[in-house]
């Protein structure tokens, strides 16, 4: 009996120690915009680089493999996958726990889902195909969906839809987004840090590939998706 009590006492400091390193947390908020305006689904009218008017009805994407990097190049990695969906405000605020103590001057993440997870069978959580972010005829996750309407669109119902995905070459749309932080994120002793990432949907439609709703109202295959995916990186910014 005595031995057992000693054993429990002996475990206590270990337990506390474990907790300490686990409690650093990074909170990231994604703010969706169309140029200077905050994104509003369905009702707000926007114009693309060609002056074509449009409304946005859907905007959702996967963020994964978030990494914080310190001056020495050491990393804290998260293997969690997040589905950010404009329709669900709560999904735009994500948290990574178990950030190791340290000073991080860089952050990077993948827009999309890593190749292994694209071919590992049935999955759950953010990757549950129930979220309609999975191609059923050509297996793999849709990394980003942007849908809307434009009177200039040549598609039925004046819709446009851009479903970006593909993890295999030559149509690999997985892209790493990387930032050098102006002021480093410092974590020590159960600290929690916040980061705001701006996501400008307008950039997805204009640089380097200008999307014309008339000639390209619908992209739902990997080849053209690759083309649009080159527009990803300009979309994100950190103030």
């Amino acid at each position: 009996m005595l031995k057992k009590i000693w054993f429990i006492f002996a475990l206590c400091p270990l337990f506390l120690l474990g907790q300490k390193t686990n409690e650093n947390q990074l909170n990231i908020e994604f703010i969706h915009k169309v140029d200077s305006q905050i994104l509003t689904l369905d009702t707000a009218k926007y114009f693309n680089a060609l002056g074509q008017p449009f409304f946005i009805t859907k905007f959702k994407y996967y963020i994964s493999q978030i990494e914080l990097i310190n001056e020495k190049g050491k990393k804290t990695e998260s293997h969690e996958v997040f589905l950010i969906n404009e329709e669900e405000p709560a999904s735009k605020k994500i948290s990574i726990s178990k950030v190791k103590d340290g000073e991080y001057s860089q952050i990077q993440f993948i827009l999309g889902v890593d190749s292994l997870r694209n071919c590992s069978g049935a999955q759950s959580g953010a990757l549950d195909p129930i979220h309609a972010m999975f191609w059923t005829w050509n297996s793999g996750y849709i990394f980003l969906k942007l849908e809307g309407k434009s009177t200039e669109s040549s598609a039925t119902g004046n819709i446009f839809e851009y479903h970006i995905g593909g993890y295999k070459e030559p149509s690999n749309c997985i892209q790493t987004i990387h930032f050098n932080l102006k002021s480093p994120l410092i974590f020590s002793k159960k600290s929690s840090q916040n980061l705001t990432i701006q996501v400008n949907v307008a950039e997805l439609l204009k640089h380097p590939v200008v999307i014309d709703f008339k000639t390209m109202p619908s992209v739902t295959d990997t080849k053209n998706a690759k083309l649009i995916s080159t527009n990803y990186s300009d979309m994100f910014s950190i103030q």
Binding site: S120, A122, T136, N138
Partner: protein, 346 residues
């Protein structure tokens, strides 16, 4: 004496009640879901570590496979187009009909030896056995249902609540579990007991005609229809002319490379006797027609695979011998395997 009979009768009645209460379907025991890999086959590609087959998981998969609940209006199940007696192909249907009698664009492939497949569908668009079932469930012309709605229906169904809990030990019902259960069922569909297999194992004999057929098969067909699975898992243009109403690009639609246009997966020939009609669009009704196609080089498309050109001539006698050999690939043990029967019929 009468008392003893009465006692025995009572006990057996009680036992049958207990047994049927535990399992209302065809009695499957643990040993029925044991993975017995044929010695002659290569190592399977499916990773069972991520989804080990259990009795309860297999039974759940079996129930799902035969249940129309997966379709929008409860009219279509997997079994509607994948019939056991046809090695889970759709017997006598060139193209299949799905929901609202809509007609598909391709011939239903047999379901057998799936754990040796690296990709699924005629064009190989599906990269994993577990995600395969999402396609027919959500296809507008097959079951036309959303995954979200299927899961909602299962979550409120008392029988499924019971079966999921039995298979996964807790009350969560999600698409991952549903898909893994279906994969447990389909992964055990192993055909390795045809007369060909028995002949190879020295348990059966071949007629002279069948032996000739095997020799010819090895000379002319086996480079693509590689033994013992009778496919090399590749995609090839077998030279049939494009059906201009279907305009099916095949593999090219998946890779979006022009060189892959009109290529289709090399199908296994196991149980070919029962999987008629043949080719990706079911254009040939008889095995003899298929053999004739490969012999008739003048009728081939310009983009035909070089392996088909190498076949050369096949005499009429040789055609008959080849068909005789193909019939030895029928695996009655598999076709009548009760483990894969409809659980709703006792």
């Amino acid at each position: 004496m009468r008392k003893i009979f009465g006692f025995i009768f009572g006990i057996s009645l009680l036992l049958s009640f207990v047994a049927s209460n535990e399992n209302p379907y065809f009695k499957i025991s643990k040993k029925d879901v044991k993975l017995n890999l044929p010695k002659e086959f290569p190592a399977p590609l499916y990773n069972f570590k991520e989804n080990p087959i259990t009795l309860a998981g297999f039974e759940l998969g079996r129930k799902l496979f035969y249940d129309e609940i997966l379709s929008r209006d409860s009219s279509v199940s997997c079994h509607t187009c994948h019939q056991r007696i046809a090695a889970f192909a759709h017997i006598d249907h060139a193209l299949s009909h799905g929901i609202d009698a809509k007609i598909g664009t391709r011939n239903v492939p047999a379901l057998q030896n799936l754990i040796w497949r690296d990709a699924f569908m005629w064009d190989g668009g599906i990269n994993h056995l577990e995600v395969q079932a999402i396609n027919p469930i959500t296809s507008k012309i097959e079951m036309d249902e959303t995954l979200a709605n299927v899961i909602r229906k299962l979550q409120v169904n008392e029988e499924y609540k019971f079966l999921f809990k039995k298979a996964f030990q807790d009350t969560v019902i999600n698409s991952q579990r549903m898909l893994k259960a279906i994969a447990q069922f389909t992964s055990l569909m192993i055909s390795s007991n045809s007369r060909y297999d028995k002949y190879m194992r020295g348990e059966d004999t071949f007629s002279i005609q069948e032996k000739n057929g095997l020799t010819l098969f090895r000379q002319k067909c086996a480079s693509c229809h590689r033994e013992p699975l009778f496919t090399d898992n590749s995609y090839r243009d077998n030279g049939i002319l494009l059906d201009t109403s279907l305009k099916d690009l095949g593999r090219g639609k998946i890779t979006q490379l022009a060189i892959d246009n009109y290529k289709f997966k090399v199908p296994s020939l196991r149980n070919a006797e029962m999987t008629y009609p043949y080719m990706h669009d079911g254009r040939y009704r008889k095995l003899y027609d298929v053999v004739k196609h490969y012999a008739n080089h003048n009728s081939h498309s310009a983009s035909v695979d070089s392996a088909v050109i190498k076949i050369g001539t096949i005499s009429d006698n040789e055609k008959v011998d080849l068909v005789a050999f193909l019939l030895t690939l029928t695996d009655k043990k598999f076709l009548y395997d009760k483990r894969f029967s409809n659980p709703n019929f006792k």
